[in-house]
Structures are given as structure tokens and as C-alpha cells.
């Protein structure tokens, strides 16, 4: 586990104790506008059935942690949301836009959905600042000045404004991942997707990235996060989703999830992740 668990627990203003049981019910989310609605999602790689009948609604401001053994389809699920992967059945609606094969639609959705990758994927030929201003300039059509001003603000928030003119290769892994978060935030997205953001990091760098993610959560950003950092899940998640063999096995608020896992699979998985 990350050393994060030793930290004092942060205040969580959004946490409501009575709510969790409601959010589990998949169909009841209609009364409050959902930002992401996934229903009946199925995906195959060739003959391999990776995602099986996924139904998931995410409300504005909700923070969801997805965990599960490797190969359970969790990364594939969030990659489907901004269409990095194509799905074969079911529907995905993001902020009222339904994902189709239409390129225009895909671009609209990608503009609203930020993504942070396991391998950072910063552009090595551009400086940190240029990494952050590339999309605002070319997609949001902002002026360079404007884009740079916003970018510097976000770089300050992830605590690396002094590195703005360096190249990604000159930064540590933790710094690179924080830049990657800032780069996504510069597009002012509605939702942030995190695909195992700390898995490629050395232990001592995990905390600096998680701190940034927690701050982001406190500001009310809608987040979907694939991670094995259970400390992080306990601290910020409204809901923890456990996936195995391409399906959602169970979802519950963190307290319930960690103390009373309902399925044998979940118990086994938690046993492996928590006990070492």
C-alpha cells in the first residue's frame, strides 16, 4: 500500500453517509442529471469478451474508483468513454452527447473528458508549457497568451511552475505525471479519467501525484479513477467499483466496500491488495 494511509484523513465535505445505497441502484440515477451514462456496454477483442453488460451512471461531481485484478477490463472500460477503444454493443452518453462513429461527436466528447495515462504520454518534443497549451490553442482556439496564463495557473497548482520551460525528459516520473494532470485540466474538462496514474511511479513519487488528485477531488471535479491505491479510494471515492472478468461485480461506498464486501471474489481481491 502507498504510504498515503499514514496521512491524517482529509476533510471530505461532499461525503454523505446516508446516500450510498441509493447510488448503487443503477436505474435510479435519472432524477439527477448524469454526466456519463453507460448502458448495456459490451466489447470484444476478436473472440474475447472483455466487457460484459456494463451499466454505469456517473453524476456530476461524483468520484468513482474502479479496481480489480489485471485483465478485468477496467482500463478498457474507461478508454471506451473517450473512444480510445471502440465498443460493439450498448450506449455511452457523455454530457448529453451520445458516442457514435461520427468523428465530430468523438471530438466533442474528448474535449469534455480529460485523461491521465499510466505512462504519462507527455509529448517529448515540446516543453512542459507547450504540452499544456497545445490543445487549448488548437482545439479551444485560445490565444497563446491566454493559454499560457491558464497553463501557468495549473502548473502552479500541481506545484511545478518553475519547470515550465524544460522538456519532459528532464523531469522525474512524479513531476511528469503532475504535468500530465495539468495538461488535461487546461482543457477545462467536465470529467477526468485516470488510468492507473501511479502504477508506473517509484514509491516515493506516488504521494505527490495522489495529493494533486485529492485536491482536485475536493474542488468537486467528476473523476473516474482506475487505481490500486486503496488509501486514495477510502479518502475521496463516493463509490468503489470492483470489476472482474469484464463485468462489474459490485459497487458500494468505500466504507461498505472495504468492511463488508459482498462477493467472494471481492474479498479475495481485497485480501491480496490490502495485506502486504
Amino acid at each position: 500500500m502507498s504510504d498515503y494511509l499514514d496521512e491524517p484523513r482529509l476533510q471530505k465535505p461532499l461525503k454523505k453517509d446516508g446516500q450510498p445505497e441509493v447510488t448503487i441502484q443503477r436505474e435510479s440515477a435519472t432524477e439527477q442529471a448524469s454526466l456519463i451514462e453507460i448502458s448495456g456496454l459490451n466489447k470484444w477483442y476478436g473472440q474475447f469478451h472483455v466487457l460484459r453488460d456494463i451499466n454505469l451512471n456517473v453524476k456530476k461531481g461524483e468520484k468513482i474508483v474502479i479496481c480489480g485484478p489485471s485483465g478485468s477490463g477496467k482500463s478498457t472500460l474507461i478508454r471506451c468513454i473517450n473512444c480510445l477503444e471502440e465498443h460493439q454493443e450498448g450506449s455511452i452518453v457523455v454530457d448529453g452527447t451520445r458516442l457514435t462513429n461520427d468523428l465530430k461527436n468523438i471530438e466533442t466528447i474528448r474535449r469534455e473528458v480529460g485523461m491521465v495515462f499510466q505512462q504519462f504520454n507527455l509529448f517529448p518534443h515540446l516543453t512542459i508549457l507547450e504540452n499544456c497549451t497545445l490543445a487549448p490553442i488548437w482545439v479551444r482556439k485560445q490565444s497563446r497568451k491566454e493559454a499560457e496564463k491558464v497553463a501557468m495557473e495549473y502548473l502552479e497548482r500541481v506545484r511545478i511552475p518553475d519547470q515550465a520551460n524544460k522538456y519532459p525528459g528532464q523531469l522525474s516520473g512524479g513531476q511528469q505525471q503532475r504535468v500530465a494532470i495539468a495538461r488535461s485540466l487546461c482543457m477545462n474538462p467536465e470529467v477526468m479519467l485516470f488510468d492507473e496514474p501511479t502504477s508506473a511511479l517509484d514509491p516515493e513519487m506516488i504521494k505527490e501525484v495522489l495529493d494533486v488528485m485529492i485536491e482536485l477531488a475536493q474542488e468537486g471535479m467528476t473523476m473516474l479513477c482506475v487505481t490500486h491505491e486503496m488509501g486514495f479510494a477510502r479518502t475521496v471515492a463516493d463509490r468503489v467499483i470492483f470489476m472482474d472478468e469484464g463485468q462489474i461485480i459490485e459497487q458500494a461506498p468505500p466504507e461498505a466496500f472495504f468492511s463488508h464486501p459482498r462477493s467472494e471474489r471481492t474479498r479475495k481481491f481485497l485480501g491480496q491488495v490490502l495485506n502486504h
Partner: protein, 363 residues
């Protein structure tokens, strides 16, 4: 707590439109309008060109005959090839001695087969034989004048036999020079380093054809008048000098890939420079450079066709000469296609082999 048993959703077959032939066709041939257009255009031009080509090359072709007049006018005249096949393979090597050339080919085939199968024993010895004795044995086998073998002058050699001989001898002889040059270029003695660098850059900077010209007109000037090289030997010397520079660069690439720790390790074990190089560094480096060596060999194999400019009759030159035979006029397409096919089979086979080696190395 609700006791809630999770029922797992069983894996299903993907929907029909996502798999199978139709899905493959849609995704790989008609994914978008542009792709569909490309597919249709290519398919149409294949339909236009391939059937007539097959008709010409096989259906209407004449396979045997005495001269161009035996060939049908609308098909390929492969009779040109079949009638002269002996010459294309052996050059002007006397017919009753051609078994010696056959022996040379057989030796090559056995060595290659031996070295490329996994299970054959004694690879080290076979490799040693191929790299040291084989060129010498082949030379005496073909040249003769020894052990009762009749002497066959090198100007009678030609065809595929000459092409293979030039490429193999050029390659094998340039290997040790290349290794020395590579070591020299990475040496920390400045004089040796600059001499080796100068040599490598000099030969890599000029076209092979000028090297062959040089070997053929200047080499006789460089040695005392009594020493006479024959034309083949001069060409071979030119090829070796030239090839050594390319080989050096390939070997240098391998040396650079050896981690610094290996050099430090043999130094700290108290081994001398040459002991370390021969026992530790070169064996590792040579394994790394095999694909590169095969690639330069392919280049050399293609380049041997240039010897025709100094009057040697390799495969291409002898076909070119055959095309000017009044009895066989008008068969240039067939001649070049045949030569192209032979070269292609060798080069493509070797490049696939080198790719396979590379993949094994990366695993």
C-alpha cells in the same frame, strides 16, 4: 448486510457484424469512403493486369526451343532461359568439369542447412570451417591445377557460380578486417583511431563502381611489375577493401551495444585488452551484429552485379551478353525477369532470415 450471490455473466460470442469475414472486410477494406475507394481502385487494376500477365508468363509461354523463332509471339519465351541455363549457372566453365562447380554449390547448401537448423551438432566447427577453410577449399576446387584437377582459368568462371563466389569470399574475407577496424575506431590510441576512422569514411564515401575501377586500373600500378593479378582477384581485392569498411561499422554498432560494465568487469579480472576482447566482448558483440552482417551481405550480393563494368561475367552480365545473341534477340524482358527472380529469392530469403534473428535477439 444483504446476502447477495453474484451471478457471473457468461462470455458470449461477439455480434455477427463484429467478427467473421464480413467484419474483417468492413474494417480492413471498407472502413471509410476513402479506404473503400482505394480498395476498389487497387482491385480493379489488379484485375486489369494480373490475368494477362499470368496468361503471358504461363499459359502462352514457350518453355523449350532452339532460338527466338521457336517461341510463340504472344507468350513469354522461357526457351531463352532453359536453353542457356547451363551458361547462366556455370559461365564458360568447361562442361566436363562442371561437377566441381556442383560440388561447390552442394557444399554451400550443406553448410547453410547445417548452420540454420537448431538440432545439428558441432556448429562451432562448421562455422569455423565456413569462415576460414571454405573460401580456400572452394578456390582450389574451382581453380584446380592441384591433386590432378585440371586447371580452369578464372576468365572461364561466370554466372551464378561467380556471383556467389564473389559475394561469399568478399564477405568472409572482409569480416576480420572489419572487426580490426571497428576495434581500432573505438581504441583510445588517437593515431590508430584516426587512421581507422579515415579508412572507414574514405571507403564508405565513394561508390563501389569507382572502387572496382580503381582495383582494375590502379592496383597493377601499386605493385612491382613482376606481380600480376588476374582480373577476378583484382575485383575481389577491391570488394574486400570496400566491404571491410561497411563491416567495421556494423561491428562497431555491436560493440557500442555492449554495456560499459562488461569492459570494467574484464579489466577488474586482470584480463589483458586482447584476452578481454576475444573472450568477453567480441563473442557478445558478434551475436548482436549477425542481423546487420546479413544485411550488408545482401547489399554486397546485389552489388556483385557491378563487376560487369570491369568485364567479369556474373549472373547479370552473362544474361546481358546472352540477350545480344542474334538467335535470341528480343527476349530482354524474360532475361531480366529470370535474373531478378534469382536475385530476389536469395535476397528476400536472407532478409527474412535476418529479421527472424533480430526477433530472437530482442526476445
Amino acid at each position: 448486510m444483504i446476502s447477495h450471490d453474484i451471478t457471473m455473466i457468461p462470455a458470449r460470442e461477439p455480434p455477427a457484424r463484429a467478427v467473421g469475414v464480413m467484419a474483417w472486410v468492413r474494417n480492413n477494406l471498407f472502413a471509410n469512403p476513402l479506404s473503400a475507394l482505394a480498395t476498389l481502385l487497387i482491385a480493379y487494376s489488379l484485375y486489369l493486369f494480373v490475368p494477362p500477365l499470368v496468361q503471358w508468363a504461363f499459359m502462352d509461354a514457350t518453355w523449350f526451343g532452339e532460338s527466338s523463332s521457336d517461341c510463340s509471339s504472344d507468350g513469354a519465351c522461357w526457351a531463352f532461359i532453359t536453353a542457356r541455363l547451363d551458361q547462366f549457372i556455370y559461365g564458360f566453365y568447361p562442361e566436363e568439369q562442371q561437377w566441381r562447380a556442383d560440388l561447390f554449390f552442394a557444399q554451400l547448401a550443406i553448410l547453410i542447412a547445417w548452420l540454420s537448423f537448431k538440432v545439428t551438432p558441432g556448429k562451432k566447427w562448421v562455422l569455423g570451417y565456413s569462415l576460414i577453410l571454405m573460401p580456400v577449399v572452394s578456390w582450389f576446387l574451382l581453380y584446380g591445377d592441384l591433386l590432378g584437377l585440371e586447371k580452369v582459368e578464372t576468365h572461364q568462371w561466370g554466372g551464378l557460380m561467380l556471383t556467389l563466389l564473389l559475394a561469399l569470399c568478399g564477405m568472409i574475407a572482409s569480416l576480420p578486417f572489419g572487426v580490426l577496424l571497428a576495434l581500432g575506431r573505438r581504441s583510445n590510441m588517437p593515431v590508430i583511431r584516426s587512421l581507422c576512422t579515415a579508412y572507414i569514411e574514405l571507403w564508405r564515401g565513394v561508390p563501389l563502381i569507382t572502387v572496382l575501377f580503381m582495383a582494375s586500373v590502379m592496383l597493377p600500378l601499386f605493385v612491382p611489375e613482376e606481380v600480376v593479378f588476374d582480373k577476378l582477384l583484382r575485383a575481389l581485392i577491391g570488394i574486400i577493401l570496400f566491404q571491410a569498411a561497411y563491416m567495421a561499422e556494423v561491428v562497431r554498432g555491436g560493440l557500442q551495444a555492449i554495456p560499459k560494465g562488461q569492459f570494467e568487469a574484464f579489466n577488474s579480472l586482470g584480463l589483458s585488452y586482447w584476452q578481454g576482447m576475444i573472450m568477453i566482448i567480441l563473442p557478445q558483440a558478434m551475436r548482436l551484429v549477425i542481423p546487420g552482417v546479413v544485411n550488408t551481405f545482401i547489399a554486397l550480393f546485389k552489388d556483385t552485379s557491378l563487376v560487369l563494368v570491369i568485364g567479369l561475367f556474373d549472373l547479370l552480365a552473362i544474361i546481358q551478353a546472352g540477350l545480344n545473341d542474334p538467335a535470341w534477340l528480343g527476349n530482354s524482358v524474360e532475361g531480366y525477369l529470370f535474373a531478378g527472380l534469382v536475385f530476389w529469392v536469395f535476397c528476400f530469403g536472407m532478409s527474412k532470415y535476418s529479421q527472424r534473428l533480430e526477433q530472437q535477439l530482442h526476445r
